[in-house]
Amino acid sequence: MENKTVQILKAKRRALWRQRFMENWRVFMRNPLGRIGMSLLVMFGLMAVCSYIPPMIDPMYHPMTGVDPKVVSSVGPSWQHWLGTDFMGRDIFSQLLAGARVAFLVGVSAAFMSVVLGTAVGMTAGYMGRFTDTALMRLADMIMVLPTLLVVLMLAALFGQLSIWMIVLMIALFRWPGVSRIIRAQTLSLKQRPFIDAARVSGASHLRIIFRHIMPNVLPLAFLYMTFRVTSAIVIEAGLAFLGFGDPGTVSWGMMLQWVWKTGYMFQAPYWLLPPGICISLITLSFYMLGRAMDEVLDPRLRDETQAG
């Protein structure tokens, strides 16, 4: 083929994908929930990035190890410490920033892992059917009925303090069944669609059908569930940390809440108690709103350019 035609076609292909992205983006941003969720997330993202700055200004702003030598107990907001300090004189604002970093890390990585696992299991079960389906789904049922927080607590009690990565892994391992059920249902309905028959007639292998024809149709859904999983992962991590089973080497918002409770400042230091609490609520809310807006993007009724008949 002529080189020029190829170039033109390549440009057309790029334009097609750009157009698809812009279309989705427009639907997403048209939704007020999407706009609010997105701006909140950008704010938390900035917080996470900025968490590296305070320790650079002065070692005493290090969220974990930096102690203001002039302070002996928790004090309220001041010029030095915008949100005050904790019981040993650590800066609450820089702890809050560091907490955002941990929340993203825990939330996104745990959600990512559980969604990858859940999607893989769900697609396999839905496509293979029969025995594989039954076996995988019973396993999912068993894990689904286990109360995640309780089991993780017991494991933590057994093995002593858990590192943050262990916590992430646990959350991922316990939260995939919900995703897998939804992906399985979607796969089952996709499997019946004529375009799968068409692919079979075209000579596609089972692997190709799964990865080339089913996966692109379930991925948006998986991605949607990832945003909801982020929410639950952050809440679980905060709960663990508050109950004293967090990773003692990291500063998360849950940890901050645990410290304020354990040192008895719960009702004396609102400047210490409220910011992490509000942050946890807001970040989960923002991921949830993101998910809801994405739901709208995926809704075919809004995608199809329905013509009047």
Binding site: M1, L16, G203, A204
Partner: protein, 339 residues
């Protein structure tokens, strides 16, 4: 039309049956056996368009799915060019599908919504590892042109939802003919489309037959489209083939009471004076009798109770090349043998 061609059989179905078991439940116990196809004998000749006409649930789609081996027959044998393909598996099945392709009924469902037109049409090339991506693109462009989507450059990089129903069905045809198959099964390719698009689809199918030499099995519920497009037609009723013959002959001189009923029911569009009314359909269906009798007995106005209810009807050679499954017919004088 078919006279000028050599009558070389390409596809043959011998005594092919397919059963489904309905899912049982707590109250009914095990599932019921439903016969989708009952001992079908059919042969397609090289280069012809064969119409399989029937109502929904008659088994015509099942028949098509058996031929492309999306399903396996429970009994009987299917051969393509003399080779038994009834129970092919794996590599051999894949090779078989390079020769036999299918166009599905609903173009809104038969194209993957997440895959571009270029990738959809190139699918058979990719799975069969024929050439590199640039070759694929070139062949895709060419075949889209053949399927009436030109300039094809404008269509390759679009998603199915950006096309109209007629355009989608042409993409589906392009995908089916990109490997230049020797047999194409078209399962009601126009029933979801507006009339102006169906005429285009007919034209393309004729082109596929004339220019690629493919044999086409055209599955339809419409006698009028079968008349327009097909060389020969077979009429199928609840899993039983009841009449077969040259299209013009079957429509102008139908012999089986069911074929006559179908023709009665088809709107004539201003030509009702040219088509006789046969009145072979019983107003109220008869209660079910033994399964041994004629499949059409319950709705047949001509049926004779003892004969038709009790024994399965024989095939009669009612005219040259035309056969019908009915007790009440007689062989035409010089019984011409027929497929």
């Amino acid at each position: 039309m078919s006279e000028s061609r050599e009558h070389k059989t390409i596809l043959q179905l011998e005594q092919v049956s397919r059963f489904y078991r309905t899912r049982g439940n707590v109250f009914r116990g095990g599932g019921r056996l439903v016969v989708a196809l009952n001992k079908i004998n059919l042969s397609l000749r090289q280069g012809e368009i064969f119409g399989l006409v029937g109502e929904s649930g008659s088994g015509k789609t099942t028949c098509g799915r058996l031929i492309v081996r999306l399903e396996e027959p429970d009994e009987g044998r299917i051969t393509l060019g003399g080779e038994d393909i009834t129970h092919l598996k794996g590599k051999k099945l894949k090779d078989y599908r390079r020769q036999v392709q299918m166009v599905f009924q609903d173009p809104y469902q038969s194209l993957n919504p997440q895959v571009t037109i270029a990738d959809s049409v190139a699918e058979p090339l990719i799975t069969n590892k024929l050439g590199d991506p640039l070759d694929h693109l070139e062949r895709v462009l060419k075949v889209l042109d053949t399927a009436g989507l030109s300039p094809s450059e404008d269509y390759v990089y679009r998603f199915p939802h950006q096309l109209s129903g007629g355009q989608r069905q042409r993409v589906a045809i392009a995908r089916a003919i990109v490997l230049e198959p020797s047999l194409l099964v078209a399962d009601e390719p126009t029933s979801m489309l507006d009339a102006s698009y169906s005429a285009q689809i007919f034209e393309i199918l004729q082109g596929v037959r004339d220019n690629m030499g493919a044999t086409i099995m055209f599955i339809t519920h419409s006698m009028a489209s079968a008349r327009y497009l097909c060389d020969r037609i077979g009429v199928i009723y609840r899993g039983h083939l009841v009449e077969q013959g040259p299209a013009e002959q079957v429509i102008n001189a139908p012999q089986h009471p069911y074929t006559k009923a179908l023709i009665d029911a088809t709107p004539k569009f201003g030509r009702s004076s040219e088509v006789p009314t046969y009145g072979t359909l019983l107003a109220a269906e008869r209660p079910a009798t033994s399964s041994a009798g004629c499949p059409f007995f319950r709705r047949c106005a001509l049926a004779e109770r003892l004969l038709c209810a009790g024994t399965y009807p024989p095939w009669h050679d009612v005219a040259p090349e035309q056969v019908a499954l009915c007790h009440l017919l007689q062989d035409a004088a010089p019984a011409a043998s027929s497929g």
